[in-house]
């Protein structure tokens, strides 16, 4: 699917919206308790390629937030695989100690686990006025039924990325990943929810209420493909490098990542398979006993301002959970075309093809996790 926007359009948009955003420091200066001297550095952990970064002559959202609030931000793109990330934060949180980060941006299923374990702080909603801009469909979601602990950062689509030069043809189905001509040049995500979700959809399963049994055909298919050498690797978010340098012809990937990578390699494509794609939400949460709860609230408030949210979304190409982003894009000729992109603003046809993987029972989740881990680690 050809993307409608290029980086220079986004850059133009970032510059043109700078005027509005530039007022933020002035406005914030009028508010109390926002001086640098009163705040702790805000530490955020997030995935790579999940925010607008500094560009020549244009500050990215982190820098703009710092300028607007006087709060120092330590922004880490250290989330490559959520399971590994969980194991890093598990020990201190299980011992009742704080972790370094004030905000974690994690997949919804991980947020759900952290909520169940009581390892999160409820969000200080009173300080996040802009949370009212959250899309209605994402209020009180399945992973946070009371809507107390999380605010969505972005919603992504798991589908297939490919290099048209390497494949020599367009791909449109999960079966293409198992095609003989792509032998040894295909990767799947080591995050089983994304990989199995996509394969289960191809098997015609209902992934909103999944069971271990539903995953068995997908697991068997992966096992065969692994043994035969069809699969080159199972990757975390680091599939991006292999895709860019041509080690992979096709892989399971996220739409927003590929849209950004297309700026560096125009031969890359992303497609939602005809059998459907998996919707994944990444959400902001505050870990228990975090020092910078107040600063975290300011960050959340900042990124839920539709203009700021639009800046992030224009750079990342994911589905923004913030109301008003579409309007902001429409107001600028350089970004108006983004509205037509069904991967950022899914129309009815696209929405019908996208499904969110529902929760497994605890027992089934353990069984799937064990089988998948056995598959990729042995």
């Amino acid at each position: 699917m050809k993307r409608l926007t290029r980086r220079r359009d986004v850059l133009r948009f970032l510059i043109t919206t700078g005027g509005t955003a530039a007022m933020a420091p002035v406005l914030s200066a009028c508010q109390p308790n926002k001086g640098k001297q009163n705040s702790v550095p805000l530490i955020i952990s997030n995935w790579p390629l999940f925010i607008d970064t500094d560009q020549p002559g244009v500050a990215g959202s982190v820098r703009r937030f710092e300028q607007a609030t006087g709060i120092d931000v330590i922004y880490r793109e250290d989330l490559n695989d959520p399971d590994s990330f969980f194991s890093r934060i598990r020990l201190p949180l299980a011992m009742g100690q704080p972790v370094e980060q004030d905000i974690l941006i994690v997949p919804n299923w991980l947020a759900s686990r952290l909520i169940r374990l009581n390892w999160l702080e409820p969000l200080p909603w009173a300080q996040i006025g802009n949370a009212s801009n959250l899309e209605d469909s994402l209020k009180k979601p399945l992973w946070d039924p009371k809507g107390l602990y999380s605010l969505p950062w972005m919603v992504g689509i798991t589908g297939i990325a490919y290099n048209i030069k390497s494949t020599g043809r367009e791909l449109n189905s999960v079966d293409d990943l198992f095609a003989k001509e792509l032998h040894g040049r295909v990767s799947f995500l080591s995050m089983w929810r994304d990989t199995l979700g996509l394969l289960m959809l191809a098997d015609g399963k209902n992934i909103t209420a999944p069971t271990y049994k539903d995953t068995i055909p997908a697991l068997q298919r992966l096992e065969q493909a692994k043994t035969s050498g069809q699969i080159r690797s199972f990757t975390g978010n680091d599939y991006q490098k292999d895709l860019l340098v041509g080690n992979l012809a096709a892989c399971v990937a996220w739409a927003g990542d590929v849209a950004q990578l297309m700026g560096e390699n125009p031969d890359l494509r992303f497609v939602v398979p005809k059998t459907g794609g998996v919707l994944t939400a990444d959400v902001m949460v505050i870990p228990r006993k975090a020092d910078g709860k107040r600063e975290a609230a300011q960050w959340m408030n900042y990124v839920y301002d539709p203009i700021n949210a639009a800046r992030i979304d224009a750079a990342t190409h994911f589905i923004s959970p913030v109301k008003g982003v579409k309007k902001v894009f429409a107001a600028s000729s350089s970004t108006a075309k983004l509205i037509e992109d069904p991967l950022m603003f899914p129309d009815k046809t696209m929405a019908n093809r996208l499904h969110m993987l529902g929760p497994f029972s605890d027992q089934d989740e353990i069984a799937v996790e064990r089988q998948f881990s056995k598959l990729i680690a042995s």
Binding site: R90, L91, M95, G246, N247, I376
Partner: protein, 295 residues
């Protein structure tokens, strides 16, 4: 005030820090590992475990890791062998031809250690990439077909293959192998080689009958220093190996980092420890303590 110590207590005082270090950082963790391997977690993500007499963890460990033990032994042995083939001539050249540059050349062997192990290995992914310099050279020289047939390339690629994994292990552990060989070769009296030649021995015979037996302690030390860590390596297999090249370290890492199954990971670690100890005992039975620091 006079301390209630006698001259006989002095050696005890001197070894005390080392003994304390070993107790705290080797014996106690090892006992904890043993305890974990015979325990069950009280909850899925909690930290507490209770001792359990049933061997569930070891059954799990065996079913998960049995094929990986065999594969890890094979890959580590191959990497050690390649290291010996590459390392021995280099060590010989440094000792015999290094002259006044010998200390510098020996130092150069350890230069790779100045950089992070992980960074070095990830750098190799660029070197071995499909469009990387090495594969470009293979294409220019039209060696792809031949190397594919020899099984050195898979689907015309080098990265994510067994070849890349073995090469990475060899590279990363080569200094551990070369340094003991240099030390061993350095102790050989050159007049012994001259005497053998005077008595009519040809170069290959001198090597087999004089050099090799005298260098054996170094070869064994170096071999063990390569083989043992290579067996449990995670990084090379993760970045350079293919999906069918996972080693025992990978399953342990997966159990700890992904599945949070510390008790099963502990059982596999204990089995790995037993396996390596078994190899060492077999070796000592056959060759005594030669090469284990008691030559």
């Amino acid at each position: 005030m006079k301390l209630p110590l006698t001259r006989r207590d002095l050696p005890l005082l001197l070894v005390a820090p080392g003994v304390a270090w070993l107790i705290f950082f080797f014996v106690l963790p090892l006992l904890e590992l043993l305890r974990q391997s015979w325990s069950q977690p009280t909850s899925r993500f909690g930290l507490t475990t209770t001792l359990s007499p049933n061997p569930d963890n070891y059954m799990d460990a065996f079913s998960l890791a049995a094929p990986l033990f065999a594969r890890s032994v094979g890959i580590a042995a191959l990497a050690t062998l390649v290291g010996l083939v590459v390392g021995f001539p280099l060590a010989w050249w440094i000792v015999r031809r290094g002259g006044r540059w010998k200390p510098l050349l020996t130092g150069l062997v350890v230069v790779p250690f100045f950089f992070s192990y992980l960074v070095r290995t990830i750098a190799w992914t660029t070197l071995l990439a499909d469009s990387g310099p090495l594969m470009q050279m293979v294409r220019v020289l039209s060696l792809g077909h031949l190397l594919n047939n020899l099984g050195l390339l898979q689907d015309g690629r080098l990265l994510n293959t067994t070849t890349a994994l073995v090469a990475g292990l060899t590279y990363n552990y080569l200094p551990f192998l070369i340094l003991p060989i240099i030390a061993s070769l350095g102790t050989i009296d050159p007049t012994l080689l001259e005497a053998a030649a005077d008595l009519g021995a040809h170069s290959p015979r001198i090597f087999l009958k004089v050099v090799f037996p005298l260098a054996l302690p170094g070869l064994i030390s170096g071999g063990l220093l390569t083989f043992i860590p290579a067996m449990g390596d995670v990084v090379n297999s993760q970045y350079l190996g293919g999906v069918n090249d996972r080693m025992i370290g990978n399953i342990i890492a997966d159990l700890v980092l992904i599945q949070q199954r510390f008790t099963t990971a502990a059982a596999i670690s204990m089995l790995l420890l037993l396996l390596i100890t078994f190899f060492l005992l077999m070796y000592m039975r056959r060759y005594g303590k030669t090469g284990l620091g008691a030559s």
